[in-house]
């Protein structure tokens, strides 16, 4: 089995575990999710500057949310890791910054609907997730660096510009180029 096969089967397994938690309150499945994502979430939060103890607290709270919100997980809309990433992010903002994070409400009738739901299908399918993974690793180093600072080190694009000692416009264009390239490779942009 290649590493790629391995990765996509893990994504599928995790999605199946979340569904088992949603449908049957399956504790064994939940323990599997914790075993896989717990250490990764802890690592992620520590890279963003938290000490190990605080990071574990964020992990615990995130996992409690996963247990309760598992019914909202829709594997057609997001992969397990993407869904968990967003829950952990919100939990971290909530716990460490005590801040609200405004979000659009998908049930709001005042919201402008997607023009073509198929064209705007989310990055969920394994094929797309694989392509995304590959695209990120193929980005030029300066673009990857900016993304790493943004996701891992909790820096705004302003702070990234200071850290790298480059003009703000340079950081903005690196982000724009990285996204354009990834979306082109996902078949999103032509």
């Amino acid at each position: 089995m290649t590493e790629r096969d391995n990765q996509s089967s893990i994504a599928e397994q995790m999605a199946a575990h979340i569904r088992k938690v949603a449908d049957h309150r399956d504790r064994a499945a939940f323990a599997e999710i914790f075993d896989y994502f717990g250490p990764r979430l802890k690592s992620f939060v520590m890279r963003q500057g938290s000490d190990p103890q605080l990071a574990e607290e964020v992990v615990q709270e995130t996992m409690v949310k996963i247990w309760h919100k598992s019914g909202q997980f829709d594997s057609k809309k997001a992969s397990a890791s993407t869904w968990i990433y967003t829950i952990a992010r919100n939990m971290r903002i909530d716990l460490l910054r005590k801040m609200n994070r405004p979000e659009p409400d998908m049930n709001d009738p005042s919201m402008t609907p997607d023009p073509d739901p198929m064209a705007y299908d989310k990055i969920a399918f394994d094929q797309e997730a694989d392509q995304l993974k590959k695209s990120i690793t193929l980005l030029p180093e300066d673009q990857q660096r900016v993304l790493q600072l943004a996701y891992f080190e909790d820096k705004t694009h302003n702070e990234v510009a200071v850290e790298l000692n480059v003009p703000l416009g340079t950081v903005k264009s690196r982000i724009r180029l990285a996204l354009r390239r990834i979306r082109t490779e996902l078949g999103d942009l032509r």
């Binding site: 992620f44 405004p102 402008t112 997607d114 996701y151 990834i182």
Partner: protein
């Protein structure tokens, strides 16, 4: 209805990674409600976050972490029902999408407006942040937005009507991301009052005499 003016990818990334403050995020989230294109960009950015999470080298958990976890879900299962979803507030006018409507607490027709001079009005929006200000502005049809300068960033999201300046015409859903280098003189469209959400990280300085007189009283 097509949205033509979007926030920079850099600002969307800050929103997705969670580094963007509450008040700016209110502007981005309200734009997202009106812009399927940027919702798709956010999906891609969140998928990148998920991918980075999946591929990070795992940290070691403390020995009792799993046991504590299982104990937690037993306890919280009982307490869970208290966190039901809040009832969704609807905008009768369909002009104010969420999350803006929740922050204002009332629909457009019921808002209290403060006079800014030259026929323009504002309604301040409470957030937890002190150094960034969000407000709704209402500019009468055909009139200029009271001339102002700003330090740092200014986001303007059009909700109703339109405005134009040297950079183009902005309609419902369009978002202008302006830094201090943009000395702009926006003017509301001729046919209709323009209502927009304006977010600034420094006090706006209105230049008209009337605005200057009321400015200290309004605290802007």
């Amino acid at each position: 209805m097509n949205v033509n003016h979007h926030p920079s990818e850099a600002l969307l990334l800050d929103y997705v990674s969670g580094t963007l403050g509450e008040t700016w995020s209110l502007g981005i989230a309200t734009h997202l409600a009106l812009c399927p294109t940027c919702r798709r960009t956010v999906d891609v950015l969140e998928a990148m976050g998920g991918d980075l999470l999946e591929n990070i080298s795992p940290a070691e958990m403390s020995g009792d972490a799993a046991a504590r976890m299982m104990a937690r879900i037993d306890v919280s299962d009982d307490a869970q029902n208290k966190t039901g979803l809040p009832t969704l507030q609807l905008s009768k006018s369909h002009i104010l999408p969420q999350p803006l409507l929740s922050y204002l607490g009332k629909d457009l027709a019921d808002l209290k407006w403060q006079r800014l001079g030259m026929g323009a009005f504002q309604s301040l929006i409470q957030t937890q942040e002190k150094d960034v200000t969000a407000r709704l502005l209402r500019i009468p049809a055909g009139k200029p937005v009271p001339e102002h300068t700003h330090r740092g960033l200014e986001l303007t999201l059009i909700l109703s009507g339109e405005f134009s300046d040297a950079t183009g015409t902005y309609k419902r859903g369009d978002l202008q991301e302006a830094d201090e280098t943009l000395g702009h003189h926006p003017c509301a469209g001729k046919d209709k009052d323009c209502v927009c959400l304006a977010i600034t990280d420094a006090p706006l300085r209105f230049r008209s005499l009337a605005a200057r007189i009321v400015q200290p009283m309004l605290g802007i």
